[in-house]
Structures are given as structure tokens and as C-alpha cells.
């Protein structure tokens, strides 16, 4: 047996600090950004070093105009992933707020839900205004991953944390990349600032929920680790969207995706995208070995 959700010993000081920072920096996104009528296709929409073709032969083979178009559609893919990811995490947090075991972080959850709603709004605005669409969601849960509520909660918050830390790698870079339009820089930076609080809270939640799972048998802990490694690989693969290649005018978009995912030059970038979260999960014995990137 392991601790029931009733007896989770949260580190409330962490949540109180994060909640008061969130209240202090409160903002509404609706008047925060200047939305230009048009963003030119001839500019970078995403840092070229973050493109899925970076460090592959394709980067040399396609002209700069195509790369810039790709940066537009890969940015629309990135923000679309955010919209869908936020919808999933909101549903999971709303399901748990003020429920047994989660009473104490609930004040933090209120701030989290409000801010995530803001993020989903501005990412969706960007996709619809400048891409005319949100790419469809492909990471759809087909049922519960665990037949146990505490294990399920752990996996939910671990997935949220992995997703947020991967996204933050991109936000931190694009938020300070002066090659990008000021709107793109601002949006990424605003997201990064909020996410740094969410990541701190998420790490606390994941650490605590995992601590309470330690009495589980070794094979179940191993299965959890394997599942999270597969999740990390799936999130990385979601950055490679054939529709973005097609919208950028690249022929054979499915083959492009396969070629890029198999390109040796991508391995070190995948490792960099998930370096911080991997280090956290390994240090807390949540992952038993690194995800194969």
C-alpha cells in the first residue's frame, strides 16, 4: 500500500510563494499585445536554430525563402501544440482542484487555470490571425493510463511538466531573439515568465506525488519510467508536422518528416530541448534512464 491522496504532505510554502508572485504580476492578455494586421512571410517567425530542419542536409538544400515560410508554419504548429496541450492540462487540473488530496495546492491551481486560459487565448489568436487555422490535435488520450487514481495523477502532472519544460526551451530563445517580430518575442517572453512559476509548482507536485508512489513494486516504477520516456519522444515527434512542411511548399511532406526524424544531427537538439526536465526526472529517480531522443 502507499499513501492515499488524503495524506499528501505538500510543501505549502512553495505554493504560497508562487501564488503571491502570480497575484503581484497579475495582467490581462486582452490588451497586452499589439496585433499587426499582417506579419510578412519574408521574415523569420521562429528562430532558425529551432526549426526541425536545423542541422540536417535539408537546411542546406532549401532556399532561404522556403526556410522562412517553414519558420512561419512551424511556429503555427508550435502554438497549435500549445493550444491543444493547454486544453488537456486545464481539463486535468480542473478535475482535481478542491478534490481530496489537492486542497492545499488549490489556490495555486486557481492562478494556474487563469493564466493557462490566457495563454491558450493568445496562442490561438496568433494561429488564427496569421495562419488562418490551428493545426489539429494529434496527441489524443485514448483512455486512462493507470487503474489507480494516485498513479494517474502522478502521470498527469508529469506529462504537464514535461510539456511545459519543452515549450519553455523554445519560449526562452524566441522571447529574446531580435530577428523575430516584437509580437513574437513578447508573446514568447510573457509565456516564459508565467511558465517559470508553473514549472516550479509542477516540479513540487511531481516530486511529492512520486515520493508517495515509491512503495510500488519495482516493475510498476519501471513501467512508469518507460511510459514517460515514450511520452517525451512523442512530444518531440509532434514538432515534426507534415502539414507544416506541405504549407511551406516542401514536396513529399511525410518523407520529409521521416528523413528529419532519422537525421543524426537532430539528436543533440532533442537532448537540448528536454535537457532540464530530463535532469530533474533522473535526479528524483523518476526516470531510470534518459529518453532516446
Amino acid at each position: 500500500m502507499y499513501a492515499s491522496e488524503r495524506s499528501i504532505e505538500w510543501n505549502n510554502r512553495v505554493f504560497e510563494r508562487l501564488t503571491s508572485l502570480s497575484v503581484r504580476d497579475d495582467y490581462t492578455p486582452f490588451g497586452l499585445f499589439d496585433w499587426p494586421h499582417h506579419l510578412p512571410d519574408e521574415e523569420w517567425w521562429m528562430s532558425p536554430e529551432l526549426l526541425s530542419v536545423h542541422d540536417t542536409p535539408l537546411m542546406e538544400q532549401v532556399d532561404e525563402a522556403t526556410l522562412k515560410r517553414l519558420s512561419k508554419w512551424e511556429s503555427i504548429n508550435f502554438y497549435s501544440l500549445n493550444v491543444h496541450g493547454i486544453r488537456e492540462l486545464l481539463m486535468e487540473v480542473v478535475r482535481r482542484i478542491h478534490s481530496l488530496g489537492f486542497e492545499e495546492p488549490s489556490e495555486f491551481f486557481h492562478r494556474f487555470i487563469g493564466e493557462e486560459n490566457d495563454h491558450m487565448w493568445f496562442f490561438a489568436q496568433f494561429c488564427r490571425r496569421y495562419g488562418g487555422k490551428i493545426y489539429p490535435n494529434r496527441m489524443i488520450p485514448l483512455g486512462s493510463e493507470a487503474n489507480d487514481s494516485q498513479l494517474e495523477s502522478f502521470l498527469v502532472f508529469a506529462r504537464i511538466l514535461i510539456f511545459e519544460e519543452l515549450v519553455d526551451h523554445f519560449n526562452r530563445r524566441m522571447g529574446k531573439d531580435e530577428r523575430l517580430h516584437p509580437l513574437i518575442q513578447n508573446m514568447n517572453w510573457v509565456h516564459h515568465v508565467d511558465e517559470s512559476r508553473h514549472i516550479a509548482g509542477g516540479r513540487e507536485i511531481v516530486r511529492q506525488l512520486h515520493r508517495d508512489l515509491r512503495p510500488l513494486k519495482a516493475d510498476r516504477l519501471r513501467a512508469m519510467s518507460d511510459y514517460l520516456r515514450r511520452y517525451m519522444a512523442a512530444v518531440l515527434e509532434a514538432l515534426y508536422n507534415p502539414r507544416a512542411y506541405r504549407d511551406a511548399g516542401m514536396p513529399g511532406p511525410h518523407q520529409v518528416r521521416r528523413d528529419l526524424l532519422g537525421a543524426p544531427g537532430r539528436v543533440r537538439h532533442h537532448r537540448a530541448f528536454i535537457a532540464k526536465i530530463t535532469q530533474f526526472l533522473l535526479a528524483n529517480d523518476i526516470l531510470m534512464e534518459e529518453a532516446s531522443a
Binding site: 486544453r87 489539429p136 490535435n137 494529434r138 496527441m139 489524443i140 488520450p141 485514448l142 483512455g143 493510463e145 511510459y227 515514450r230 511520452y231 519522444a233 512523442a234 515527434e237 509532434a238 507534415p242 502539414r243 511525410h254 518528416r257
Partner: protein, 91 residues
Amino acid sequence: MTMRTGRDDGVSELWRWLQGHNPAAAQLALDLDLDLIETRILRSLDFMNFILFIEELSGIDIEINNNNGALIDSLRTLRSIRDNLLKREAQ
């Protein structure tokens, strides 16, 4: 059980894909009516690549979202994938 064969069928290729991605499917025979979701032969984390594979095979864009239960149901068995998604290729 009847099964069409030939290049336009695609079912065998889908089954081979599933067997390649989930060891639990490796020893099973192809069954058009096996519930791929209920049996977890198709797992959440493989869903994205499975959809992309069907799109490549059929040449159609699959518009699916979380609230579209009918489309998820159309992915539940190889028969429904064949009838609802792969057949559109020939239309």
C-alpha cells in the same frame, strides 16, 4: 471474415505498422474487428504517428479533435478504418 487484398486495401500495412509499434500485437493474427483502442493495441502515445500513417496511405487529411467521438470510433477497428478512411482514396 472476408478481406480485400491488393494495394488499395491498406489493412495489411496498417496491421504491420501496429505490430511494429506494439509488441503486444506481434503474436496476434490480423482481425478486422478487433477493438484496437479497448485492447490497447493502439496506444495513446502511438496515436499521432498512426494517424499520420493513415493519412500518408490514403492521401487524405484526417480532421480529428477531442470532441469528435465519431471519428475516434472510425479508428476503432481495421474494418472501420478501411471503410471510413481508406476507401475515400478511391472515391
